[in-house]
Subunit: 147 residues, 6 copies
């Protein structure tokens, strides 16, 4: 059940956000059988971040919107990614801070053993800080779950 | 006090870990006035992860080992990065899991306004899982602090 | 100060919620000198769950509404029970999830030594999930405090 | 994707632990196509609780011990159940407390829509308290995950 | 049930630790019907801090060592105070930090209404930091519970 | 890098709030080269507590409102202090509780080695409880950061 070095979905999801050569990254991923989507969200409300990612993943058919099973897998991956972004409390406006994030959701098979099936990675990258222009620093998060 | 797009220390620290073209990355960073170090640590004990990063940062003169002020800034950046890695409790062996991580510590000036001074980024990338070969998935963390 | 096996207030509070033979359960409890109440609450706001339980406990005279001491004991039992329901952050709508819960509050003397006095148990059982019909799974929580 | 009232795996896992008419409960479950196991663990170390449940679930073939996917699903269900038990920090001996728990792991299909597939429930019931005989009260936890 | 301004047990417990005119403080408290004790503990293990405070409170008869009810009230007050000291995770050595603390445990009646009965305050004051002489800053915590 | 016993900024910030001889305290501090401010805030919303302290610190020139670096140092000190106040979740109204706090922000040099530079202390003291007059007990918090 070794993690396939050429199929690291977390690394790929992050490089989608961090790389400036987007075509290269998207090529890389399209050469696998993975599906993915990207988007942006800025908010002081954590639930809007969750909703934006869920909506993008459903609209782009990364998950089946009619299966709770898949929504459940995605939800926990999002919340895990938010732990990396918030580093303590999964709270934004209620502790007077805001985020501006890009996100990538990637679904693929990271393990050599095919029986390990599909997994989902949610990567977040952007800024977190006070609701004042420029009073912010970078932040990142990654959540991974079986689907 | 805008974040300088060409000086995003968090993104650079992460690309150091994720990129396979290390020379490119190290070039990029050496063209700035930043200092950085990299390393690896695998453990079931969170304190060993903290110690490995602190030791590397001191030995490579990223921080001044005789100034508590700098150790304090680094410590909080490490703990924030560990939140992204652990996503809930900053615990490893005590909840029966282990990590294998690469880390980068990068010190630089990410803001256009010189008065914003130096900041430190701690990036972590690797795997987390059961203490059984292969029973693991990717994980990432980033902590940023003023120094 | 041994816990009396016939007087386990947490188990009884949970069985009140889980059992389908309510009369049996209520009999069981009425044969002790315990007092209890039951209710339902569905909300995306954790404070409404707290308020519903506090109101029911006061209106049914499980606690004395004029004694802060008793309100304090109940409040901490409720928050502890919510930890079991939320498993991480005591947050609902702010992380885009909702609950539909039944609750039981039970006050009694679970210890053989009479000097141990009265304790309060708050049990919660129901579902947690996305604010979409059916996108939910079961959840449970129990908080116990001296009163 | 409605939760089937006759197939509530969380409620069943808890009743396995709370009921005194074990045969009835085991009958109930054997009439479904669910698999389950039960056990006991007492420890001041949370990792021993995790290990005891994982070992029982593997030895009783509730999960496939060679699939990380299934181990991952179980692990998160265990940690979620421990949140209910510990109500705050998933820590035992490190905050000077100990647990004596019974546990049930149950795998089944709680949703009417067959496409929702199998889910796993981990239920915990017992006592938590100081490492002194009798200085303890009841505690409970439930974790549910798709598998 | 108003808090009596002359009977603020939390403030008094803290002043016991912070004041340099100990006699004055102890006088103040001995003029009430409160009982209290003080002590010191330095450790990288949170459980040793808990144990030191529990032992002092029992040996000085602040709580009745034979009543779990009182031990339970004290335990939660200690853990709450440790939240103030640790500010995030109630962990010391496992995240490579240590504390040197003075503590005060005070039992009294802070409310005008006599029916509110006795409450317990646990105050902590000292330093927290790396296990290196001088690499530390001040820290404080206060926990209050009904008893 | 020893902490100077005569320059304990955390202790001084707390004594500013707890002492009834304000002049004495303010004298003590004005004899150092420290700057400080005090204020009050009561709210069910944690963000209002954060905002009140930030505004006071900026208006009283404790921090430079145009430097994110200083706002970042202050923000983390405030959140750390709120951990002491809330003891678990940094949440107020969302778990149906409210605070009435006095606060002090103090900036000074607590270490003998001048190279350790300036640090900031945020002290909070007041009451926390239900949104009902008198249903509250004392609470305290302290956050310290390098600036």
């Amino acid at each position: 059940m070794t993690l396939n070095r050429d199929a690291r979905i977390g690394r790929s999801a992050l490089l989608l956000l961090l790389s400036e050569e987007k075509e290269y990254q998207e090529d890389l991923i399209s050469n696998t059988n993975w599906s993915f989507c990207e988007g942006k969200v800025g908010s002081m409300e954590a639930q809007k971040v969750v909703a934006a990612i869920e909506t993008a993943a459903k609209n782009n058919h990364i998950i089946d919107k009619d299966l709770y099973r898949e929504g459940h897998a995605l939800y926990h991956a999002i919340i895990e990614a938010l732990h990396g972004v918030t580093r303590g409390e999964v709270q934004l406006g209620s502790v007077l801070r805001t985020v501006g994030l890009t996100f990538a959701v990637l679904r693929g098979s990271p393990y050599e053993n095919k029986a390990e099936g599909e997994w989902i990675a949610v990567a977040l990258y952007g800024t977190i800080g006070a609701p004042v222009k420029g009073a912010e620093h970078e932040t990142i998060g990654l959540g991974i779950n079986h689907i």
